[in-house]
């Protein structure tokens, strides 16, 4: 994931795309429906942080959708999958167009996410002791240039990650 990026880290954001693949597609071909999307992400140097390959499931309600530019069909089952990645905003516009024109994807949802995995988001008040250190950094940030600020925050990030891994 450490390609030679020319991406400005300020503009990078965590996105998640979930999609429903038409049940008309054979089970072993379901993955091929999202290959164009993955190619696009790879081409944009997007860092995929998590994903779940499409799994067949019954839908909560029947969806009417037109696939392959044909007539509208009613689907009461589909394969649901999602992919989470970090990229710039312009990737999303292209991904949206790609998915909308994709013949086998009957519905998709693009969301901005913040938390990587909302597994143990709470009950972690003890992991807060990083806070006392925060004020110490602040004067530096206001006094120094923006560049030093970035360096400090990444160190802090590493430390937090270490803490979390330790727990």
């Amino acid at each position: 994931m450490s390609e030679n990026k020319v991406i400005d880290p300020e503009l990078v954001r965590l996105y998640e795309i979930s999609y429903l693949v038409s049940p008309a597609l054979a089970e072993d071909k379901v993955h091929s429906a999202v290959l164009p999307l993955k190619d696009l992400l790879a081409g944009k140097n997007a860092a995929v942080s998590a994903e779940e390959s499409p799994k067949f499931r019954r839908l909560a309600y029947p969806i009417r959708a037109a696939i392959a530019g044909g007539k509208k069909q009613v689907f009461d089952s589909a394969s649901f999958g999602w992919i989470r990645f970090e990229s710039e905003a312009d990737t999303i516009g292209e991904a949206k167009k790609l998915l909308a024109s994709s013949p086998d994807i009957i519905r998709f949802l693009i969301v901005k996410t913040d938390a990587p995995e909302p597994a143990k988001t709470f009950s972690s008040r003890h992991i807060r002791p990083a806070d006392p250190a925060a004020p110490a950094f602040e004067p530096q940030g206001t006094g120094g240039s923006a560049e030093t600020k970035v360096v400090v925050s990444s160190e802090e990030l590493d430390r937090k990650i270490d803490e979390l891994v330790g727990v």
Partner: protein
């Protein structure tokens, strides 16, 4: 519903439908803030997650 829920759930994931279902009534409507015992922030997160899950047909809009 669960007096401790506000301490457990800070944000909800729309893909975790089993969890979301615990905060719906039998008709598939979102339980009120008073019933869920969630913080205002968590309740908003719940509402958003349920609506996303409904759009992706993971949850029903109306169940009878």
């Amino acid at each position: 519903m669960n007096p401790n829920s506000s301490h457990i759930h800070k944000s909800f994931d729309y893909k975790n439908t089993e969890l979301l279902k615990k905060f719906l009534n039998p008709h598939g409507r979102i339980l009120s803030h008073g019933r869920t015992g969630l913080t205002a922030k968590a309740q908003r997160s719940l509402a958003l997650a349920v609506k996303r899950a409904r759009f992706m047909a993971l949850l029903t809009f109306v169940a009878r």
